[in-house]
């Protein structure tokens, strides 16, 4: 029976996506995250990574070692366990997750804005955030998290989302009709057909009607003057 390999987890990509707004500057941070989040549940998917690295190192010199499958697998598992222990145990308190960094950044920027003197208009708080430096607390101070102007990004995402909803509900391919036609269906099926519900279009020819009214007024005035 074929044992299907479970899908490689896409979590490392999510870490990068979240990092749109705040960019952790250090690479080791990123690598740790990649390793942390990218741990697949079984060792089978981790194997190719390890084996590839070993293969590259020894390629130039000689033929690679002949290893049995079981021993290679056991080695890979031990390596993985070692790495996990060294990475997870001590570093968790010192290296906060990306989410907490982002949270601290947002609260720091909000307090900075609040401290600014004068009456800041409440609705424009986040728009005024240009570049806010927030020194994240870390035991070795190895990175600096900087928040750039992001309200536009948020707005554009929200607009894109609303455009998606609008397209899927009212866009091309949907079978929509006007309210007038919808309500007039009943009128058209009666034994004595009636007019549509919004039969009159009062918005037709507004400019023409206004011109006519003005002209009439002026003509009346002229008529009165000549009569006198």
């Amino acid at each position: 029976m074929v044992q299907l390999r479970p899908r490689a987890s896409r979590a490392p990509a999510s870490a990068e996506a979240m990092v749109d707004e705040g960019q952790p500057a250090s690479e080791e941070e990123e690598a740790e995250h990649g390793l942390l989040l990218g741990q697949p549940s079984s060792g089978a998917a981790a194997e190719p990574l390890e084996e590839d690295e070993e293969g590259d190192d020894e390629f130039d010199d000689e033929a690679p070692e002949e290893l049995t499958f079981a021993s290679a697998q056991a080695e890979a598992r031990e390596e993985e366990r070692r790495v996990r222990e060294t990475v997870t145990a001590p570093s968790r308190p010192a290296c906060p997750s990306l989410y907490t960094i982002l949270e601290k950044l947002t609260t720091a920027s909000q307090t900075n804005v609040k401290k600014s003197p004068g009456k800041v208009k409440e609705g424009n708080d986040s728009k005024k955030v240009k570049v806010q430096k927030a020194q994240s607390v870390s035991q070795n101070k190895s990175y600096l998290a900087v928040r750039l102007k992001d309200q536009d990004l948020r707005d554009s995402r929200q607009q894109a989302a609303q455009a998606f909803i609008h397209n899927s509900l009212y866009g091309p391919g949907t079978n929509r009709t006007t309210v007038n036609k919808f309500l007039s269906l009943a009128n058209k099926r009666l034994p004595v057909k009636k007019a549509a519900v919004q039969f009159l279009n009062n918005a037709w020819g507004i400019q023409k009607k206004q011109n006519a009214k003005r002209f009439k007024r002026r003509w009346m005035v002229r008529k009165m003057k000549t009569k006198k």
């Binding site: 896409r10 999510s14 989410y99 409440e122 929200q158 989302a161 269906l185 058209k188 009062n202």
Partner: protein
């Protein structure tokens, strides 16, 4: 002079942005036709003009239901262009039998279904907040998430937003609380599903699940909390909660047995305890999947348009789905044959109560709740679940607001209309003609749109008020309070804003001016009641009554007596508090009643406080005597007529006649009534609604049928009705057709022969 955002309007009577013309009434009522024939040439023009939907006020003389009520000239106003926002999400809470409803403008309303479906609280909307999901968690906590990427918790006691947490995943499309109520799952635009832990005072991010390719549009927990189903575009994933990885990915067909270019959007998923996942999608299908194997079990094609929502009952023997055509289908688990144990899901009932998309449905133990773009909230009790088959089992359709959006200045005949982001001030027209009962009188001066006041900022207006003399306008949003002074010179009006409002006045729930316009009463959402003295162009904060004990049951309502001595405030579980304004202390408390107050007013000379509750009970309490009046006791002993108690809509305004202390004028959305305390009360056998009997009836008959409740249903649907002076009434109507005419496009229905 004048505020930057206020535009002065000349005497034209037209609205600034002309809405699409409202349709003519389907059938002109009999009295209109009569007067069109009988009066002069000018008359039909005004009747027809109304018919074509021009926004004009018209005077119309009408007589109240029986002789002795007097004759009134009625201003019939139809130029309040009120369009409610569509309903986006509903969430039903079983323990407290409450329904939270969120609308497209960001407003969240809480309805108490046991208190006659009354809207007791609401949280005002915000322009940037596009709520897409709403859910209740353990301990009566209400959360919402939207396209601005934030999860918000609402404080139902303080009536404000506790906090907003950014999920950092982009716009949030869906949210579900775990069956235990202690965890919250959120589906985001970037395809990630995030798990949050609900702590006593906040929510905390726990972890991410495996990220998917496209946005997660719907989520559902398995009742045991071990798995979740997430619906996306063209596929459904089943996740294992503990590991966070996707166990199955089930591909959804784009079209029922066909090929289609349009992507199939899975609008809703539901996870049953036997492992079945029910999905509804934009191709009009309801599909049953087996989550253990990840395969499709059954597929139903129920509509030609999207099926947009699904809700499962707690016992998992029935569920309800809503389609974009406005139809709501009920599915039930039914035995295959009458004595077999094998059951299958069968589509049992269709309900067509909506004209537009049904974006959300909910299933309470006894009723199906649906709401959508056509702004109605429909609650359909299921006959097989209802124990007592009385009027409680009838269909409830909530369309009109349960609070007042209009205030009136009687001296200057002005009306202030409150919209979401602006206020409009209109002056009523006038007429010099007279006529008899049922005539429509021509206007000598049209109604005048005086002011269009836009609010600054993205927040919605919570409440507004105009002083009785017409010189002050006040309104409040969540973060600010605005007070304007109006000056009238000849026919012009100028506006001046009073700056530097104190911060404690913001987020006011109710604003009221005293009769002489010298004092302003503000009920803030923290429970405190502020009294502000107005003089000339400035104000001075006089006093603040601190919140009394008792939980906040409903939004605070205020009433002030015409001599300015007494102020009544409702809203807490302790009852209605009456304060002595001159001595600035609490005078008495009306005993608590278990239904929320919908309207309150204090009578002019007798200082009787009249309170209307959501179960249609009306009480009269004498403030000087600190007890219920004799008339009130008589009414309570006899009880109200059963038809009075069966009315659907709450009483939203009570007023009095200055010269007739025995009359109380009150109205709800479909009737207005003058209660004459000197006449006998009706018992259940008498006819409640008895319009003016024909004059050829004998006096005996007339006396037998006359009773205290004079009801008129001429003007409906009524948003506001008040007595301007002794002989004039104003009735603001909002025909349903005018609302429907401004809704987004519905799905096309192909009918044979059209």
């Amino acid at each position: 002079m004048g505020g930057r955002r206020a535009r002065r309007r000349a005497a034209n009577g037209r609205q600034p942005n002309l809405p699409p013309p409202s349709p003519p009434p389907r059938a002109l009522p009999a009295h209109f036709r009569l007067c069109a024939r009988s009066t002069s040439g000018a008359e039909p023009e005004s009747a027809r003009a109304r018919g074509a939907g021009a926004e004009r006020g018209e005077r119309r003389e009408g007589e109240s239901a029986a002789a002795g009520m007097g004759e009134f000239k009625v201003h019939r106003v139809r130029f309040f262009n009120y369009v409610p926002s569509g309903i986006r999400c509903v969430a039903y809470n079983n323990q407290s039998n409450r329904l939270a409803v969120s609308r497209t403008d960001g407003t969240v309303e809480v309805y108490n279904l046991s208190a006659n479906y009354f809207q007791e609280k609401f949280f005002p909307g915000h322009e940037s907040r596009a709520t897409e999901a709403l859910c209740w968690a353990e301990g009566q906590r209400l959360f919402s998430a939207g396209l601005n990427g934030e999860i918000m918790e609402y404080d139902l006691q303080a009536l404000n937003i506790k906090y907003a947490v950014d999920a950092f995943g982009g716009p949030i499309w869906s949210m579900a609380a775990s069956p235990s109520g202690s965890q919250l799952l959120v589906g985001c635009e970037d395809g990630s599903v995030k798990l949050f832990q609900i702590t006593p005072d906040k929510i905390q991010f726990e972890r991410n699940f495996d990220r998917q390719k496209s946005r997660i549009l719907s989520l559902s927990w398995h009742p045991s909390g071990t798995h979740i189903a997430a619906g996306s575009i063209d596929y459904i994933s089943v996740f294992d909660v503990k590991s966070g990885s996707a166990v199955h990915k089930m591909i959804v067909d784009r079209q029922y047995m066909g090929v289609s270019k349009r992507k199939c959007i899975v609008w809703g998923v539901a996870f049953l305890s036997d492992g079945t996942v029910i999905s509804v999608d934009s191709a009009g299908k309801v599909q049953f999947w087996d989550s253990a194997t990840g395969t499709l079990v059954k597929s139903h094609l129920i509509a030609n348009a999207d099926v947009q929502s699904i809700a499962v009952a707690e016992q998992e023997d029935s569920f309800v789905v809503g389609t974009a055509e406005g139809t709501v289908f009920h599915f039930q688990l039914v035995p295959v044959t009458s004595n077999s144990s094998e059951k299958q899901w069968v589509r049992t009932k269709p309900f067509q109560h909506h004209t537009h998309d049904v974006r959300t449905v909910a299933h309470s133990p006894t009723a199906l709740i649906s709401g959508g773009t056509d702004t109605h909230l429909v609650i359909r009790p299921l006959m097989e679940k209802v124990e007592v088959k009385n009027y409680d089992a009838a269909l409830r359709k909530i369309t009109f607001p349960h609070r007042r959006l209009i205030s009136c200045s009687k001296k200057r005949q002005l009306l202030l209309f409150q919209f979401a982001h602006h206020l409009e001030l209109w002056r009523l027209g006038s007429t010099v003609a007279t006529g008899k009962n049922g005539d429509t009188l021509p206007l000598s001066k049209n109604a005048d749109h005086l002011l269009h006041l836009k609010t600054k900022g993205p927040e919605n207006i919570i409440c507004s008020c105009i002083s009785p003399c017409g010189s002050w306008i006040a309104y409040s949003t969540v973060s600010r309070f605005f007070l304007y002074r109006l000056n009238y010179e000849h026919d012009n009006i100028s506006l001046k804003r009073v700056s530097k409002m104190p911060p404690f006045l913001r987020s006011a729930l109710q604003i009221l001016f005293s009769e002489d316009s010298t004092k302003l009463f503000v009920a803030s959402n923290q429970g405190a009641l502020h009294i502000v003295q107005l003089s000339g162009g400035s104000f001075k904060h006089l006093h603040a009554f601190q919140p009394q004990s008792g939980t906040v049951e409903a939004m605070c309502l205020l009433a002030v007596s015409s001599d300015g001595n007494w102020l009544a405030a409702s809203g807490t579980s302790a009852g209605v508090h009456v304060y002595n304004v001159k001595q600035l202390k609490l005078h008495c408390t009306v005993p608590a009643y278990n239904f929320p107050v919908t309207a309150m007013a204090i009578a002019p000379n007798t200082n009787n406080l009249v309170i209307a509750h959501s179960d249609q009970q009306v009480f009269e309490y004498s403030i000087p005597d600190k007890q219920y009046t004799d008339w009130s006791r008589t009414v309570q002993k006899q009880g109200f007529h059963h038809l009075w108690l069966q009315r659907d809509t709450p009483i939203t305004h009570i007023s009095f006649h200055p010269k007739r202390p025995m009359h109380i004028l009150l109205h709800d959305a479909y009737m207005f009534c003058i209660i004459d305390k000197s006449l006998p009360l009706p018992n259940d056998k008498t006819l409640l609604y008895n319009p003016f009997p024909p004059t050829n009836e004998s006096d005996v008959v007339r006396r037998r049928t006359a009773h205290a409740f004079k009801i008129s249903k001429i003007y409906k649907p009524l948003l506001f009705m008040d007595l301007l002076d002794e002989r004039t009434l104003v009735a603001v109507e909002r025909p349903l057709d005018d609302i429907i005419a401004q809704l987004p496009p519905p799905i096309k229905k192909k009918k044979f022969g059209t």
